[in-house]
Symmetry: D2
Subunit: 314 residues, 4 copies
């Protein structure tokens, strides 16, 4: 049977009917009505009702940025929606007669990748989503790891460098400060500001204005062979691999899937990630190395994963 996946983003709500093979059969979309919980629930219900008219649906899965409670019904804390302890599943179930499951959006996207994407044949998976920030998800023994309070998967805030770069979370040296799009741009701007000739072509692409160096400038330049841009992706990739090696000592996953906008750099990112992982992994001479791959499920991963989690729960 089909299920509906809903992805609540900061500006729009995307919903879709997803079949048991992870294919999207129908889609709709609503604007996100500010941060008001009641209005957002209304928009979700409205989208679900529209989709439901033409499909038999087993349940609804909702992906949202933020910490989701262990019961998979409550948003404990969502920075961008300014929510705390929002009983989202209760609110929506009270308006439609379908079971609702809530999941963190990175977890939902990771689940889609595990079920239908690059890791569909693996038993374990570490997903690292390198967008503006760093997202993550972990599947062990075929199960999404949610942790005792539902807070698992926050790879962004692993401790990478003691006394390292300050993070918005209030601590220093978080992995995200070294392996996100924001980190990439900050690194590029700082290097461009330092009169290092390696980064002069990148600065030229931004017409000499350091503030105009952004993520696409860097990834485009790298794909056209710019050595400075390649060096930047190399460093970012190395830290990704380094972090993956650290986690692999404890979790030993079979696959590492890298997604997100920066992941679009492909081998320019994967190769240094593989190298950092191999160099920093304990006992590499005695074990199989994890396979590294770029994510395949694309922008709708959160919707597909949320739908699949709802189907399993139904």
């Amino acid at each position: 049977m089909h299920s509906i996946g809903v992805d609540i983003g900061g500006t729009k709500i995307a919903a879709g009917v997803v079949d048991e093979n992870g294919r999207i059969r129908a889609r709709t979309r609503r604007d996100t009505p500010a941060t008001d919980q009641d209005l957002i629930e209304g928009a979700v219900v409205d989208a679900v009702q529209e989709l439901r008219a033409d499909h038999e649906i087993a349940g609804v899965g909702i992906g949202a940025a933020g910490f989701v409670g262990a019961d998979r019904r409550t948003i404990v804390f969502a920075a961008n929606l300014a929510w705390r302890d929002a009983a989202l599943a209760d609110g929506i179930e009270s308006r439609i007669d379908l079971p609702v499951v809530v999941e963190n959006d990175a977890n939902a996207a990771g689940w889609a990748e595990f079920r239908f994407g690059a890791a569909r044949e693996a038993g374990d998976m570490l997903m690292l989503t390198v967008g503006t920030g760093l997202g993550g998800a972990l599947v062990m023994d075929g199960r999404l790891v949610r942790g005792s309070g539902g807070f698992a998967g926050e790879v962004a805030h692993m401790n990478l460098v003691p006394n390292g770069q300050w993070c918005g979370c209030g601590r220093r040296g978080c992995l995200e400060q070294y392996t996100s799009g924001t980190a990439l741009v900050r690194m590029a701007r700082a290097r461009a500001a330092s009169s290092d000739a390696l980064y002069a072509p990148l600065l030229s692409r931004a017409e000499g204005d350091i503030a105009r160096i952004d993520g696409p400038t860097i990834t485009d330049a790298a794909q056209e062979g710019d050595e400075g841009a390649i060096a930047l992706l190399d460093e970012l990739g190395y830290w990704l691999g380094y972090g993956a090696a650290s986690l692999s000592a404890v979790l030993d996953p079979q696959m590492v899937v890298i997604g997100g906008g920066v992941g679009a750099a492909g081998d320019l990112l994967l190769d240094p990630a593989r190298r950092g992982y191999a160099e920093e992994l304990v006992a590499r001479g005695h074990r199989s190395l994890a396979e590294f791959a770029i994510a395949r499920t694309g922008n709708s991963a959160g919707m597909i994963g949320a739908a699949d989690l709802a189907r399993q729960a139904a």
Copy 2:
């Protein structure tokens, strides 16, 4: 039904009959016959036969230091036994008609703690065993995390400090280099050598001979109020908490259990570990903090855990 747990150590093999409540009903012991696999299997079989004479046994669980394959039958690599790809379960099953399960000793001990010890009421657990080295085990959703190749749980070799202290594993900055008995003694000796008055009493306890400062010197001194020794445990504990916080970002365990010889320092170690964890955990204002506790199952934890894993598999 009862099962037998066997703990193969470097100098002796300890075996015991363990009931379903984790209690040891009978024990025996053999010397470890060098590193010869055939002789070791013989000694294990001999011990099992002795115990089996008086008890009905469902299976045999074997704990051993080293990397155990995902099939839980093979020692892939054991540094102290000089084994590679030793088909231990096959060898033993061919001599007795009981199912055999092999497990890494730290995993077995962690499982005992989860089932019968400090974490017996928890659903998730991170175990950190601070002995000469650092051991670890991870239980998520009630299941021992073994990883895709059986190599999970090696918290010792998480990356803590980039370019930090060299580790025997060939890499730098491994958690074990900051949170083990060896690290504690190295730190104490270095501080004593540096003419820092804080560590003068500790040096006096060792009769002025830096090389005589060992683990018990430090933990005894700390328990008697020696400020230098307390500072050393404080630093070690802080790093334990720091490492636990890093893992908790990804795994969100409900409990952190600290075992091993250094764990005997109790609150002198737990308090700084709790502090390091709280300071370095992301989103602490929005989540439950993990409970920290000292392990309870003692020296036979490996045997008890191995037996229980064998019972579950039988």
Copy 3:
């Protein structure tokens, strides 16, 4: 004979007649006319002529932010004035018949402290000026250390933490990122954002608005006993001492003088600095420790030091 010291700041030019004991006998001031070199030289000349009317003057010393050439006549690079290779001494000497010496403002202030302030009885001195950023000056064997190109004294950009906090200079982990007013405020805001109860009173002082936590909020709170603010100064002071210890291994200065606005915190900053220095200094059991003191020459240090350097050169 007297000399004139001029301090060219971003918004105003302060000039004064200074006697051989470092006392200011007369003062005047002009607004800084944007970044135009000719206009700035005119304003300096105008101020000098005013002061000169009533005093016999041996020479003019000019302190300015930026890299000053080894000939002490040229501003090689000044970020805030947007100058490059500005032949300042030539320009001014062509308008008045007095010898002109140019010096970096932090060096000039350090020289004042060495000649007339906290280090007036010392033979060597490391000065660390903790204001918005971190300035520094070094006097060895009674002589201001200027380096082969005049660039010496930039303690701000010593490397403290590999892969640490990004610096405006384009590199990571510079000492300034850990030991400046900017660093102090960033640290305070991050801690306040992390829900750590220790920093809740500090957040209350800023009426709950993280962005309103500034330097004076922190130093005032610390002086009133606020534990969070004291902890922040403690960490900043520790890094100051750590950096001073690193330099002392190479330079072995007799005194470390701490100036700048954050230096006003006094012992709340000096005590942790002394501790960090003592803990991180090599061979401390065999050597005299440097004396740490707060700077005494105040806001006119740059003017006084520049004047004294001009007198010596005349």
Copy 4:
């Protein structure tokens, strides 16, 4: 006039007559008589008397490992001779009627390099001597920097990596732990132990025995193109450059001279050192970069430098 330089080593005492151009005109040698100060003074006097028979001598300069007092007459602390506060100059002057100057051996060697070697045309110089350990010397404005207590020049114990590799000095992360022959060998052995294929050829050169990998194995292999050995020198060189950049922010020297046994690797060491220096130096776009060169005065540098310092003092 000529002067005599004496180099007191752990096993032998080398003495020579040195002319004003740094050329050795005559040599002699004695075994070092254990650590007894009186016997060592006797051996020095005996060697001096032999040399003096045929040359007119202005003074005697003595170089020795250890901390030399600011008066240049006393060994404050020498680890290898087990001396503390040894009044060496007094003892020798009482037996011969020549003025005696004592200097730390690395400082003496650095002075030789500044006066007669790679830096003979420079006004400032940072010397880094990469032997078993790391030595150093600093010349600013044509003068050897000795510091307020004579302890200057100990670049080995600058702080490089917070919480880094433990050092024999009782602290962590000293530069020497990353840039010495000992560090090079430790790094090579660890890498060889980690099953990294890059280091397999190096292990083969040591006939598979990790403990037989030593400094010459590595430098020889590098010079024959071994990629693992080149990577090791590359990393060591990078840290040398990184440390030199950190010091250059404060001291701005014109030249960096690299000596010692590992320095024999030449460009294999200099090139990465130059790169690390350039990448980590503040304001590189606005300043002259220091010139890097290999030391030229060889094994007798300490003797030559000590003799020259004695001539200048006489």
